[in-house]
């Protein structure tokens, strides 16, 4: 059966499970950037991100035989990525993940826009840089919730599923993240 470019993620994954390699290519093209950035934001280490990124996809390839549609594919994929991150943090006893920390540090003052660039593009670039800077300062759980929403397009329930927490916890983390980011970006409004 030829692979349909408009097919859903779940259909593509089922196709790959049944031996359609082209379906995997489509899936990979759709999600590689999001997964990569999610890992990069959480690990903040380019070399480590490469390693974990490869592991995530290899885990997906290995698990293809047992794949059944029980949730959105992106939830499934980001759950694999989340688990890989947790493995790394547990193994290296990293302080990067603090599961109970919902407050995090105070958000730094936003950087002022530079005046030597064309106004619109400079604004956008500076806003993005400011946002990423603010994002880096968020607690890992709040950052994770925000990145999963942006990169994976996950809802609160799906974030909860991907990170293995209760819905209310995921919702709380996301709200805190948004509140802090909004506060940090007030200078740009």
């Amino acid at each position: 059966m030829p692979t349909d470019a408009d097919a859903s993620d779940e259909t593509l994954m089922l196709g790959y499970r049944d031996g359609d390699a082209a379906a995997f290519d489509l899936l990979y093209a759709r999600h590689k950037g999001g997964v990569f950035r999610y890992l990069l934001r959480q690990s903040r280490n380019a070399a480590l991100t490469d390693e974990m990124f490869q592991d995530v996809w290899m885990n997906l390839i290995r698990a293809r035989d047992t794949y059944t549609v029980q949730a959105k594919f992106s939830t499934y994929l980001y759950r694999i990525a989340h688990n890989r991150l947790m493995d790394h943090f547990r193994r290296h006893d990293s302080a990067a993940v603090s599961l109970d920390d919902d407050t995090g540090p105070e958000i730094a003052e936003p950087a002022a826009p530079r005046s030597d660039e064309p106004e619109a593009s400079a604004d956008a670039r500076q806003q993005a840089a400011q946002l990423l800077s603010l994002l880096d300062q968020l607690p890992a759980e709040q950052r994770e919730a925000f990145v999963l929403q942006q990169e994976g397009g996950l809802s609160i329930e799906e974030i909860a599923t991907a990170t293995g927490v209760a819905r209310e916890t995921a919702k709380s983390r996301l709200r805190y993240a948004l509140a802090k980011l909004r506060q940090g970006m007030q200078a740009w409004q």
């Binding site: 390699a21 990069l40 047992t66 105070e106 993005a128 942006q150 909004r182 970006m185 409004q189």
Partner: protein, 304 residues
């Protein structure tokens, strides 16, 4: 101070999303793309995991089938073994009896086989060697003093009369009256044997049954002397049940033994004689035999 995320806050913010998208452009290196895609293709090409998965899916039904098959085999084997054991239990004499005792009939009474008709006795003249397993069985010592609770003299006398009559009957098959008397005597002997068996079962432990039916030594000696022929000590492997069955089969044969090959009219004449003589049981047996042999012949009303 962090503002409390109240109910008015939404979980999405378009401005933040736009700012994030503008800054989030990182992509994995191409070498990783190639490596991952190649791994995905290799996995598809390899394919054995599919068959392994299929095997895993079938593993439970296959295991169940194997268990059922094994159980059925075991049950069948146990049932066969159980039947064999039952047969051995029904004829314990040869198992427990040493081979020497079989060759020396004077030392081993055979009250049951003494009642076996001449025809059966002739068949049993060549003693069947006991199976290897039986030959290997331990020899049970016959106690010097029999248990006092069992008295077998009377039944043994009756049993001893049996073979003599049976031999006479075998010699004179033409005499139906004698044959009938022999049948009656045989039935009587059967009853005696049954009572005897019951008494023996109740009185003595099972392993001693074969080796010590000598619960009354005097009767034993009498029996052995009276039946000093091989059939007296004959292959007791025939057992009580088989000898009784042989006797039962012998009784009706005498009624129509001389009618073998005769037309149905002769059979009906014989039947009429029996009816006239008032021997209803024999007549009924003959009716059954006639119906079996001549199913297409309708019996006259007076003979039914």
């Amino acid at each position: 101070m962090i503002p409390d995320p109240g109910a008015g806050d939404t979980e999405r913010d378009a401005r933040l999303e736009a700012a994030y998208r503008a800054g989030a452009q990182q992509q994995p290196p191409e070498r990783l793309d190639d490596a991952i895609r190649a791994a995905a293709r290799r996995a598809v090409a390899a394919g054995p995991r599919r068959s392994a998965d299929r095997l895993r899916r079938w593993s439970i039904p296959l295991s169940l089938a194997a268990v059922v098959l094994l159980s059925v085999t075991l049950v069948t084997m146990m049932r066969e073994e159980g039947a064999e054991r039952w047969v051995n239990d029904a004829s314990p004499l040869p198992r427990d009896q040493p081979p020497a005792a079989i060759e020396a009939p004077a030392t081993v009474p055979a009250p049951v086989t003494a009642t076996v008709p001449a025809q059966s006795a002739a068949q049993s003249r060549t003693p069947t060697p006991p199976p290897a397993r039986m030959a290997a069985a331990p020899v049970v010592v016959i106690p010097a003093e029999p248990p006092q609770s069992v008295t077998r003299a009377e039944p043994l006398v009756a049993e001893q009369r049996g073979p003599q009559r049976r031999e006479r009957l075998a010699a004179d098959v033409g005499s139906r009256a004698k044959a009938t008397a022999g049948a009656a005597a045989s039935a009587e002997a059967d009853a005696t044997v049954s009572q005897d068996n019951a008494a023996r079962d109740a009185a003595a432990p099972r392993p001693l049954l074969g080796s010590a039916p000598a619960s009354a030594p005097a009767a034993m000696a009498e029996t052995a002397a009276g039946a000093g022929k091989p059939e007296a000590a004959g292959p007791q492997g025939l057992g009580i049940a088989s000898s009784a069955k042989a006797r039962r089969a012998q009784v009706p044969e005498t009624l129509w033994q001389d009618l073998e090959g005769e037309p149905v009219a002769k059979w009906l004449d014989r039947l009429r004689e029996l009816r006239n003589a008032g021997r209803t049981a024999d007549a009924d047996r003959l009716v059954a035999e006639i119906r079996r042999r001549f199913p297409d012949v309708a019996l006259p009303d007076d003979l039914r």
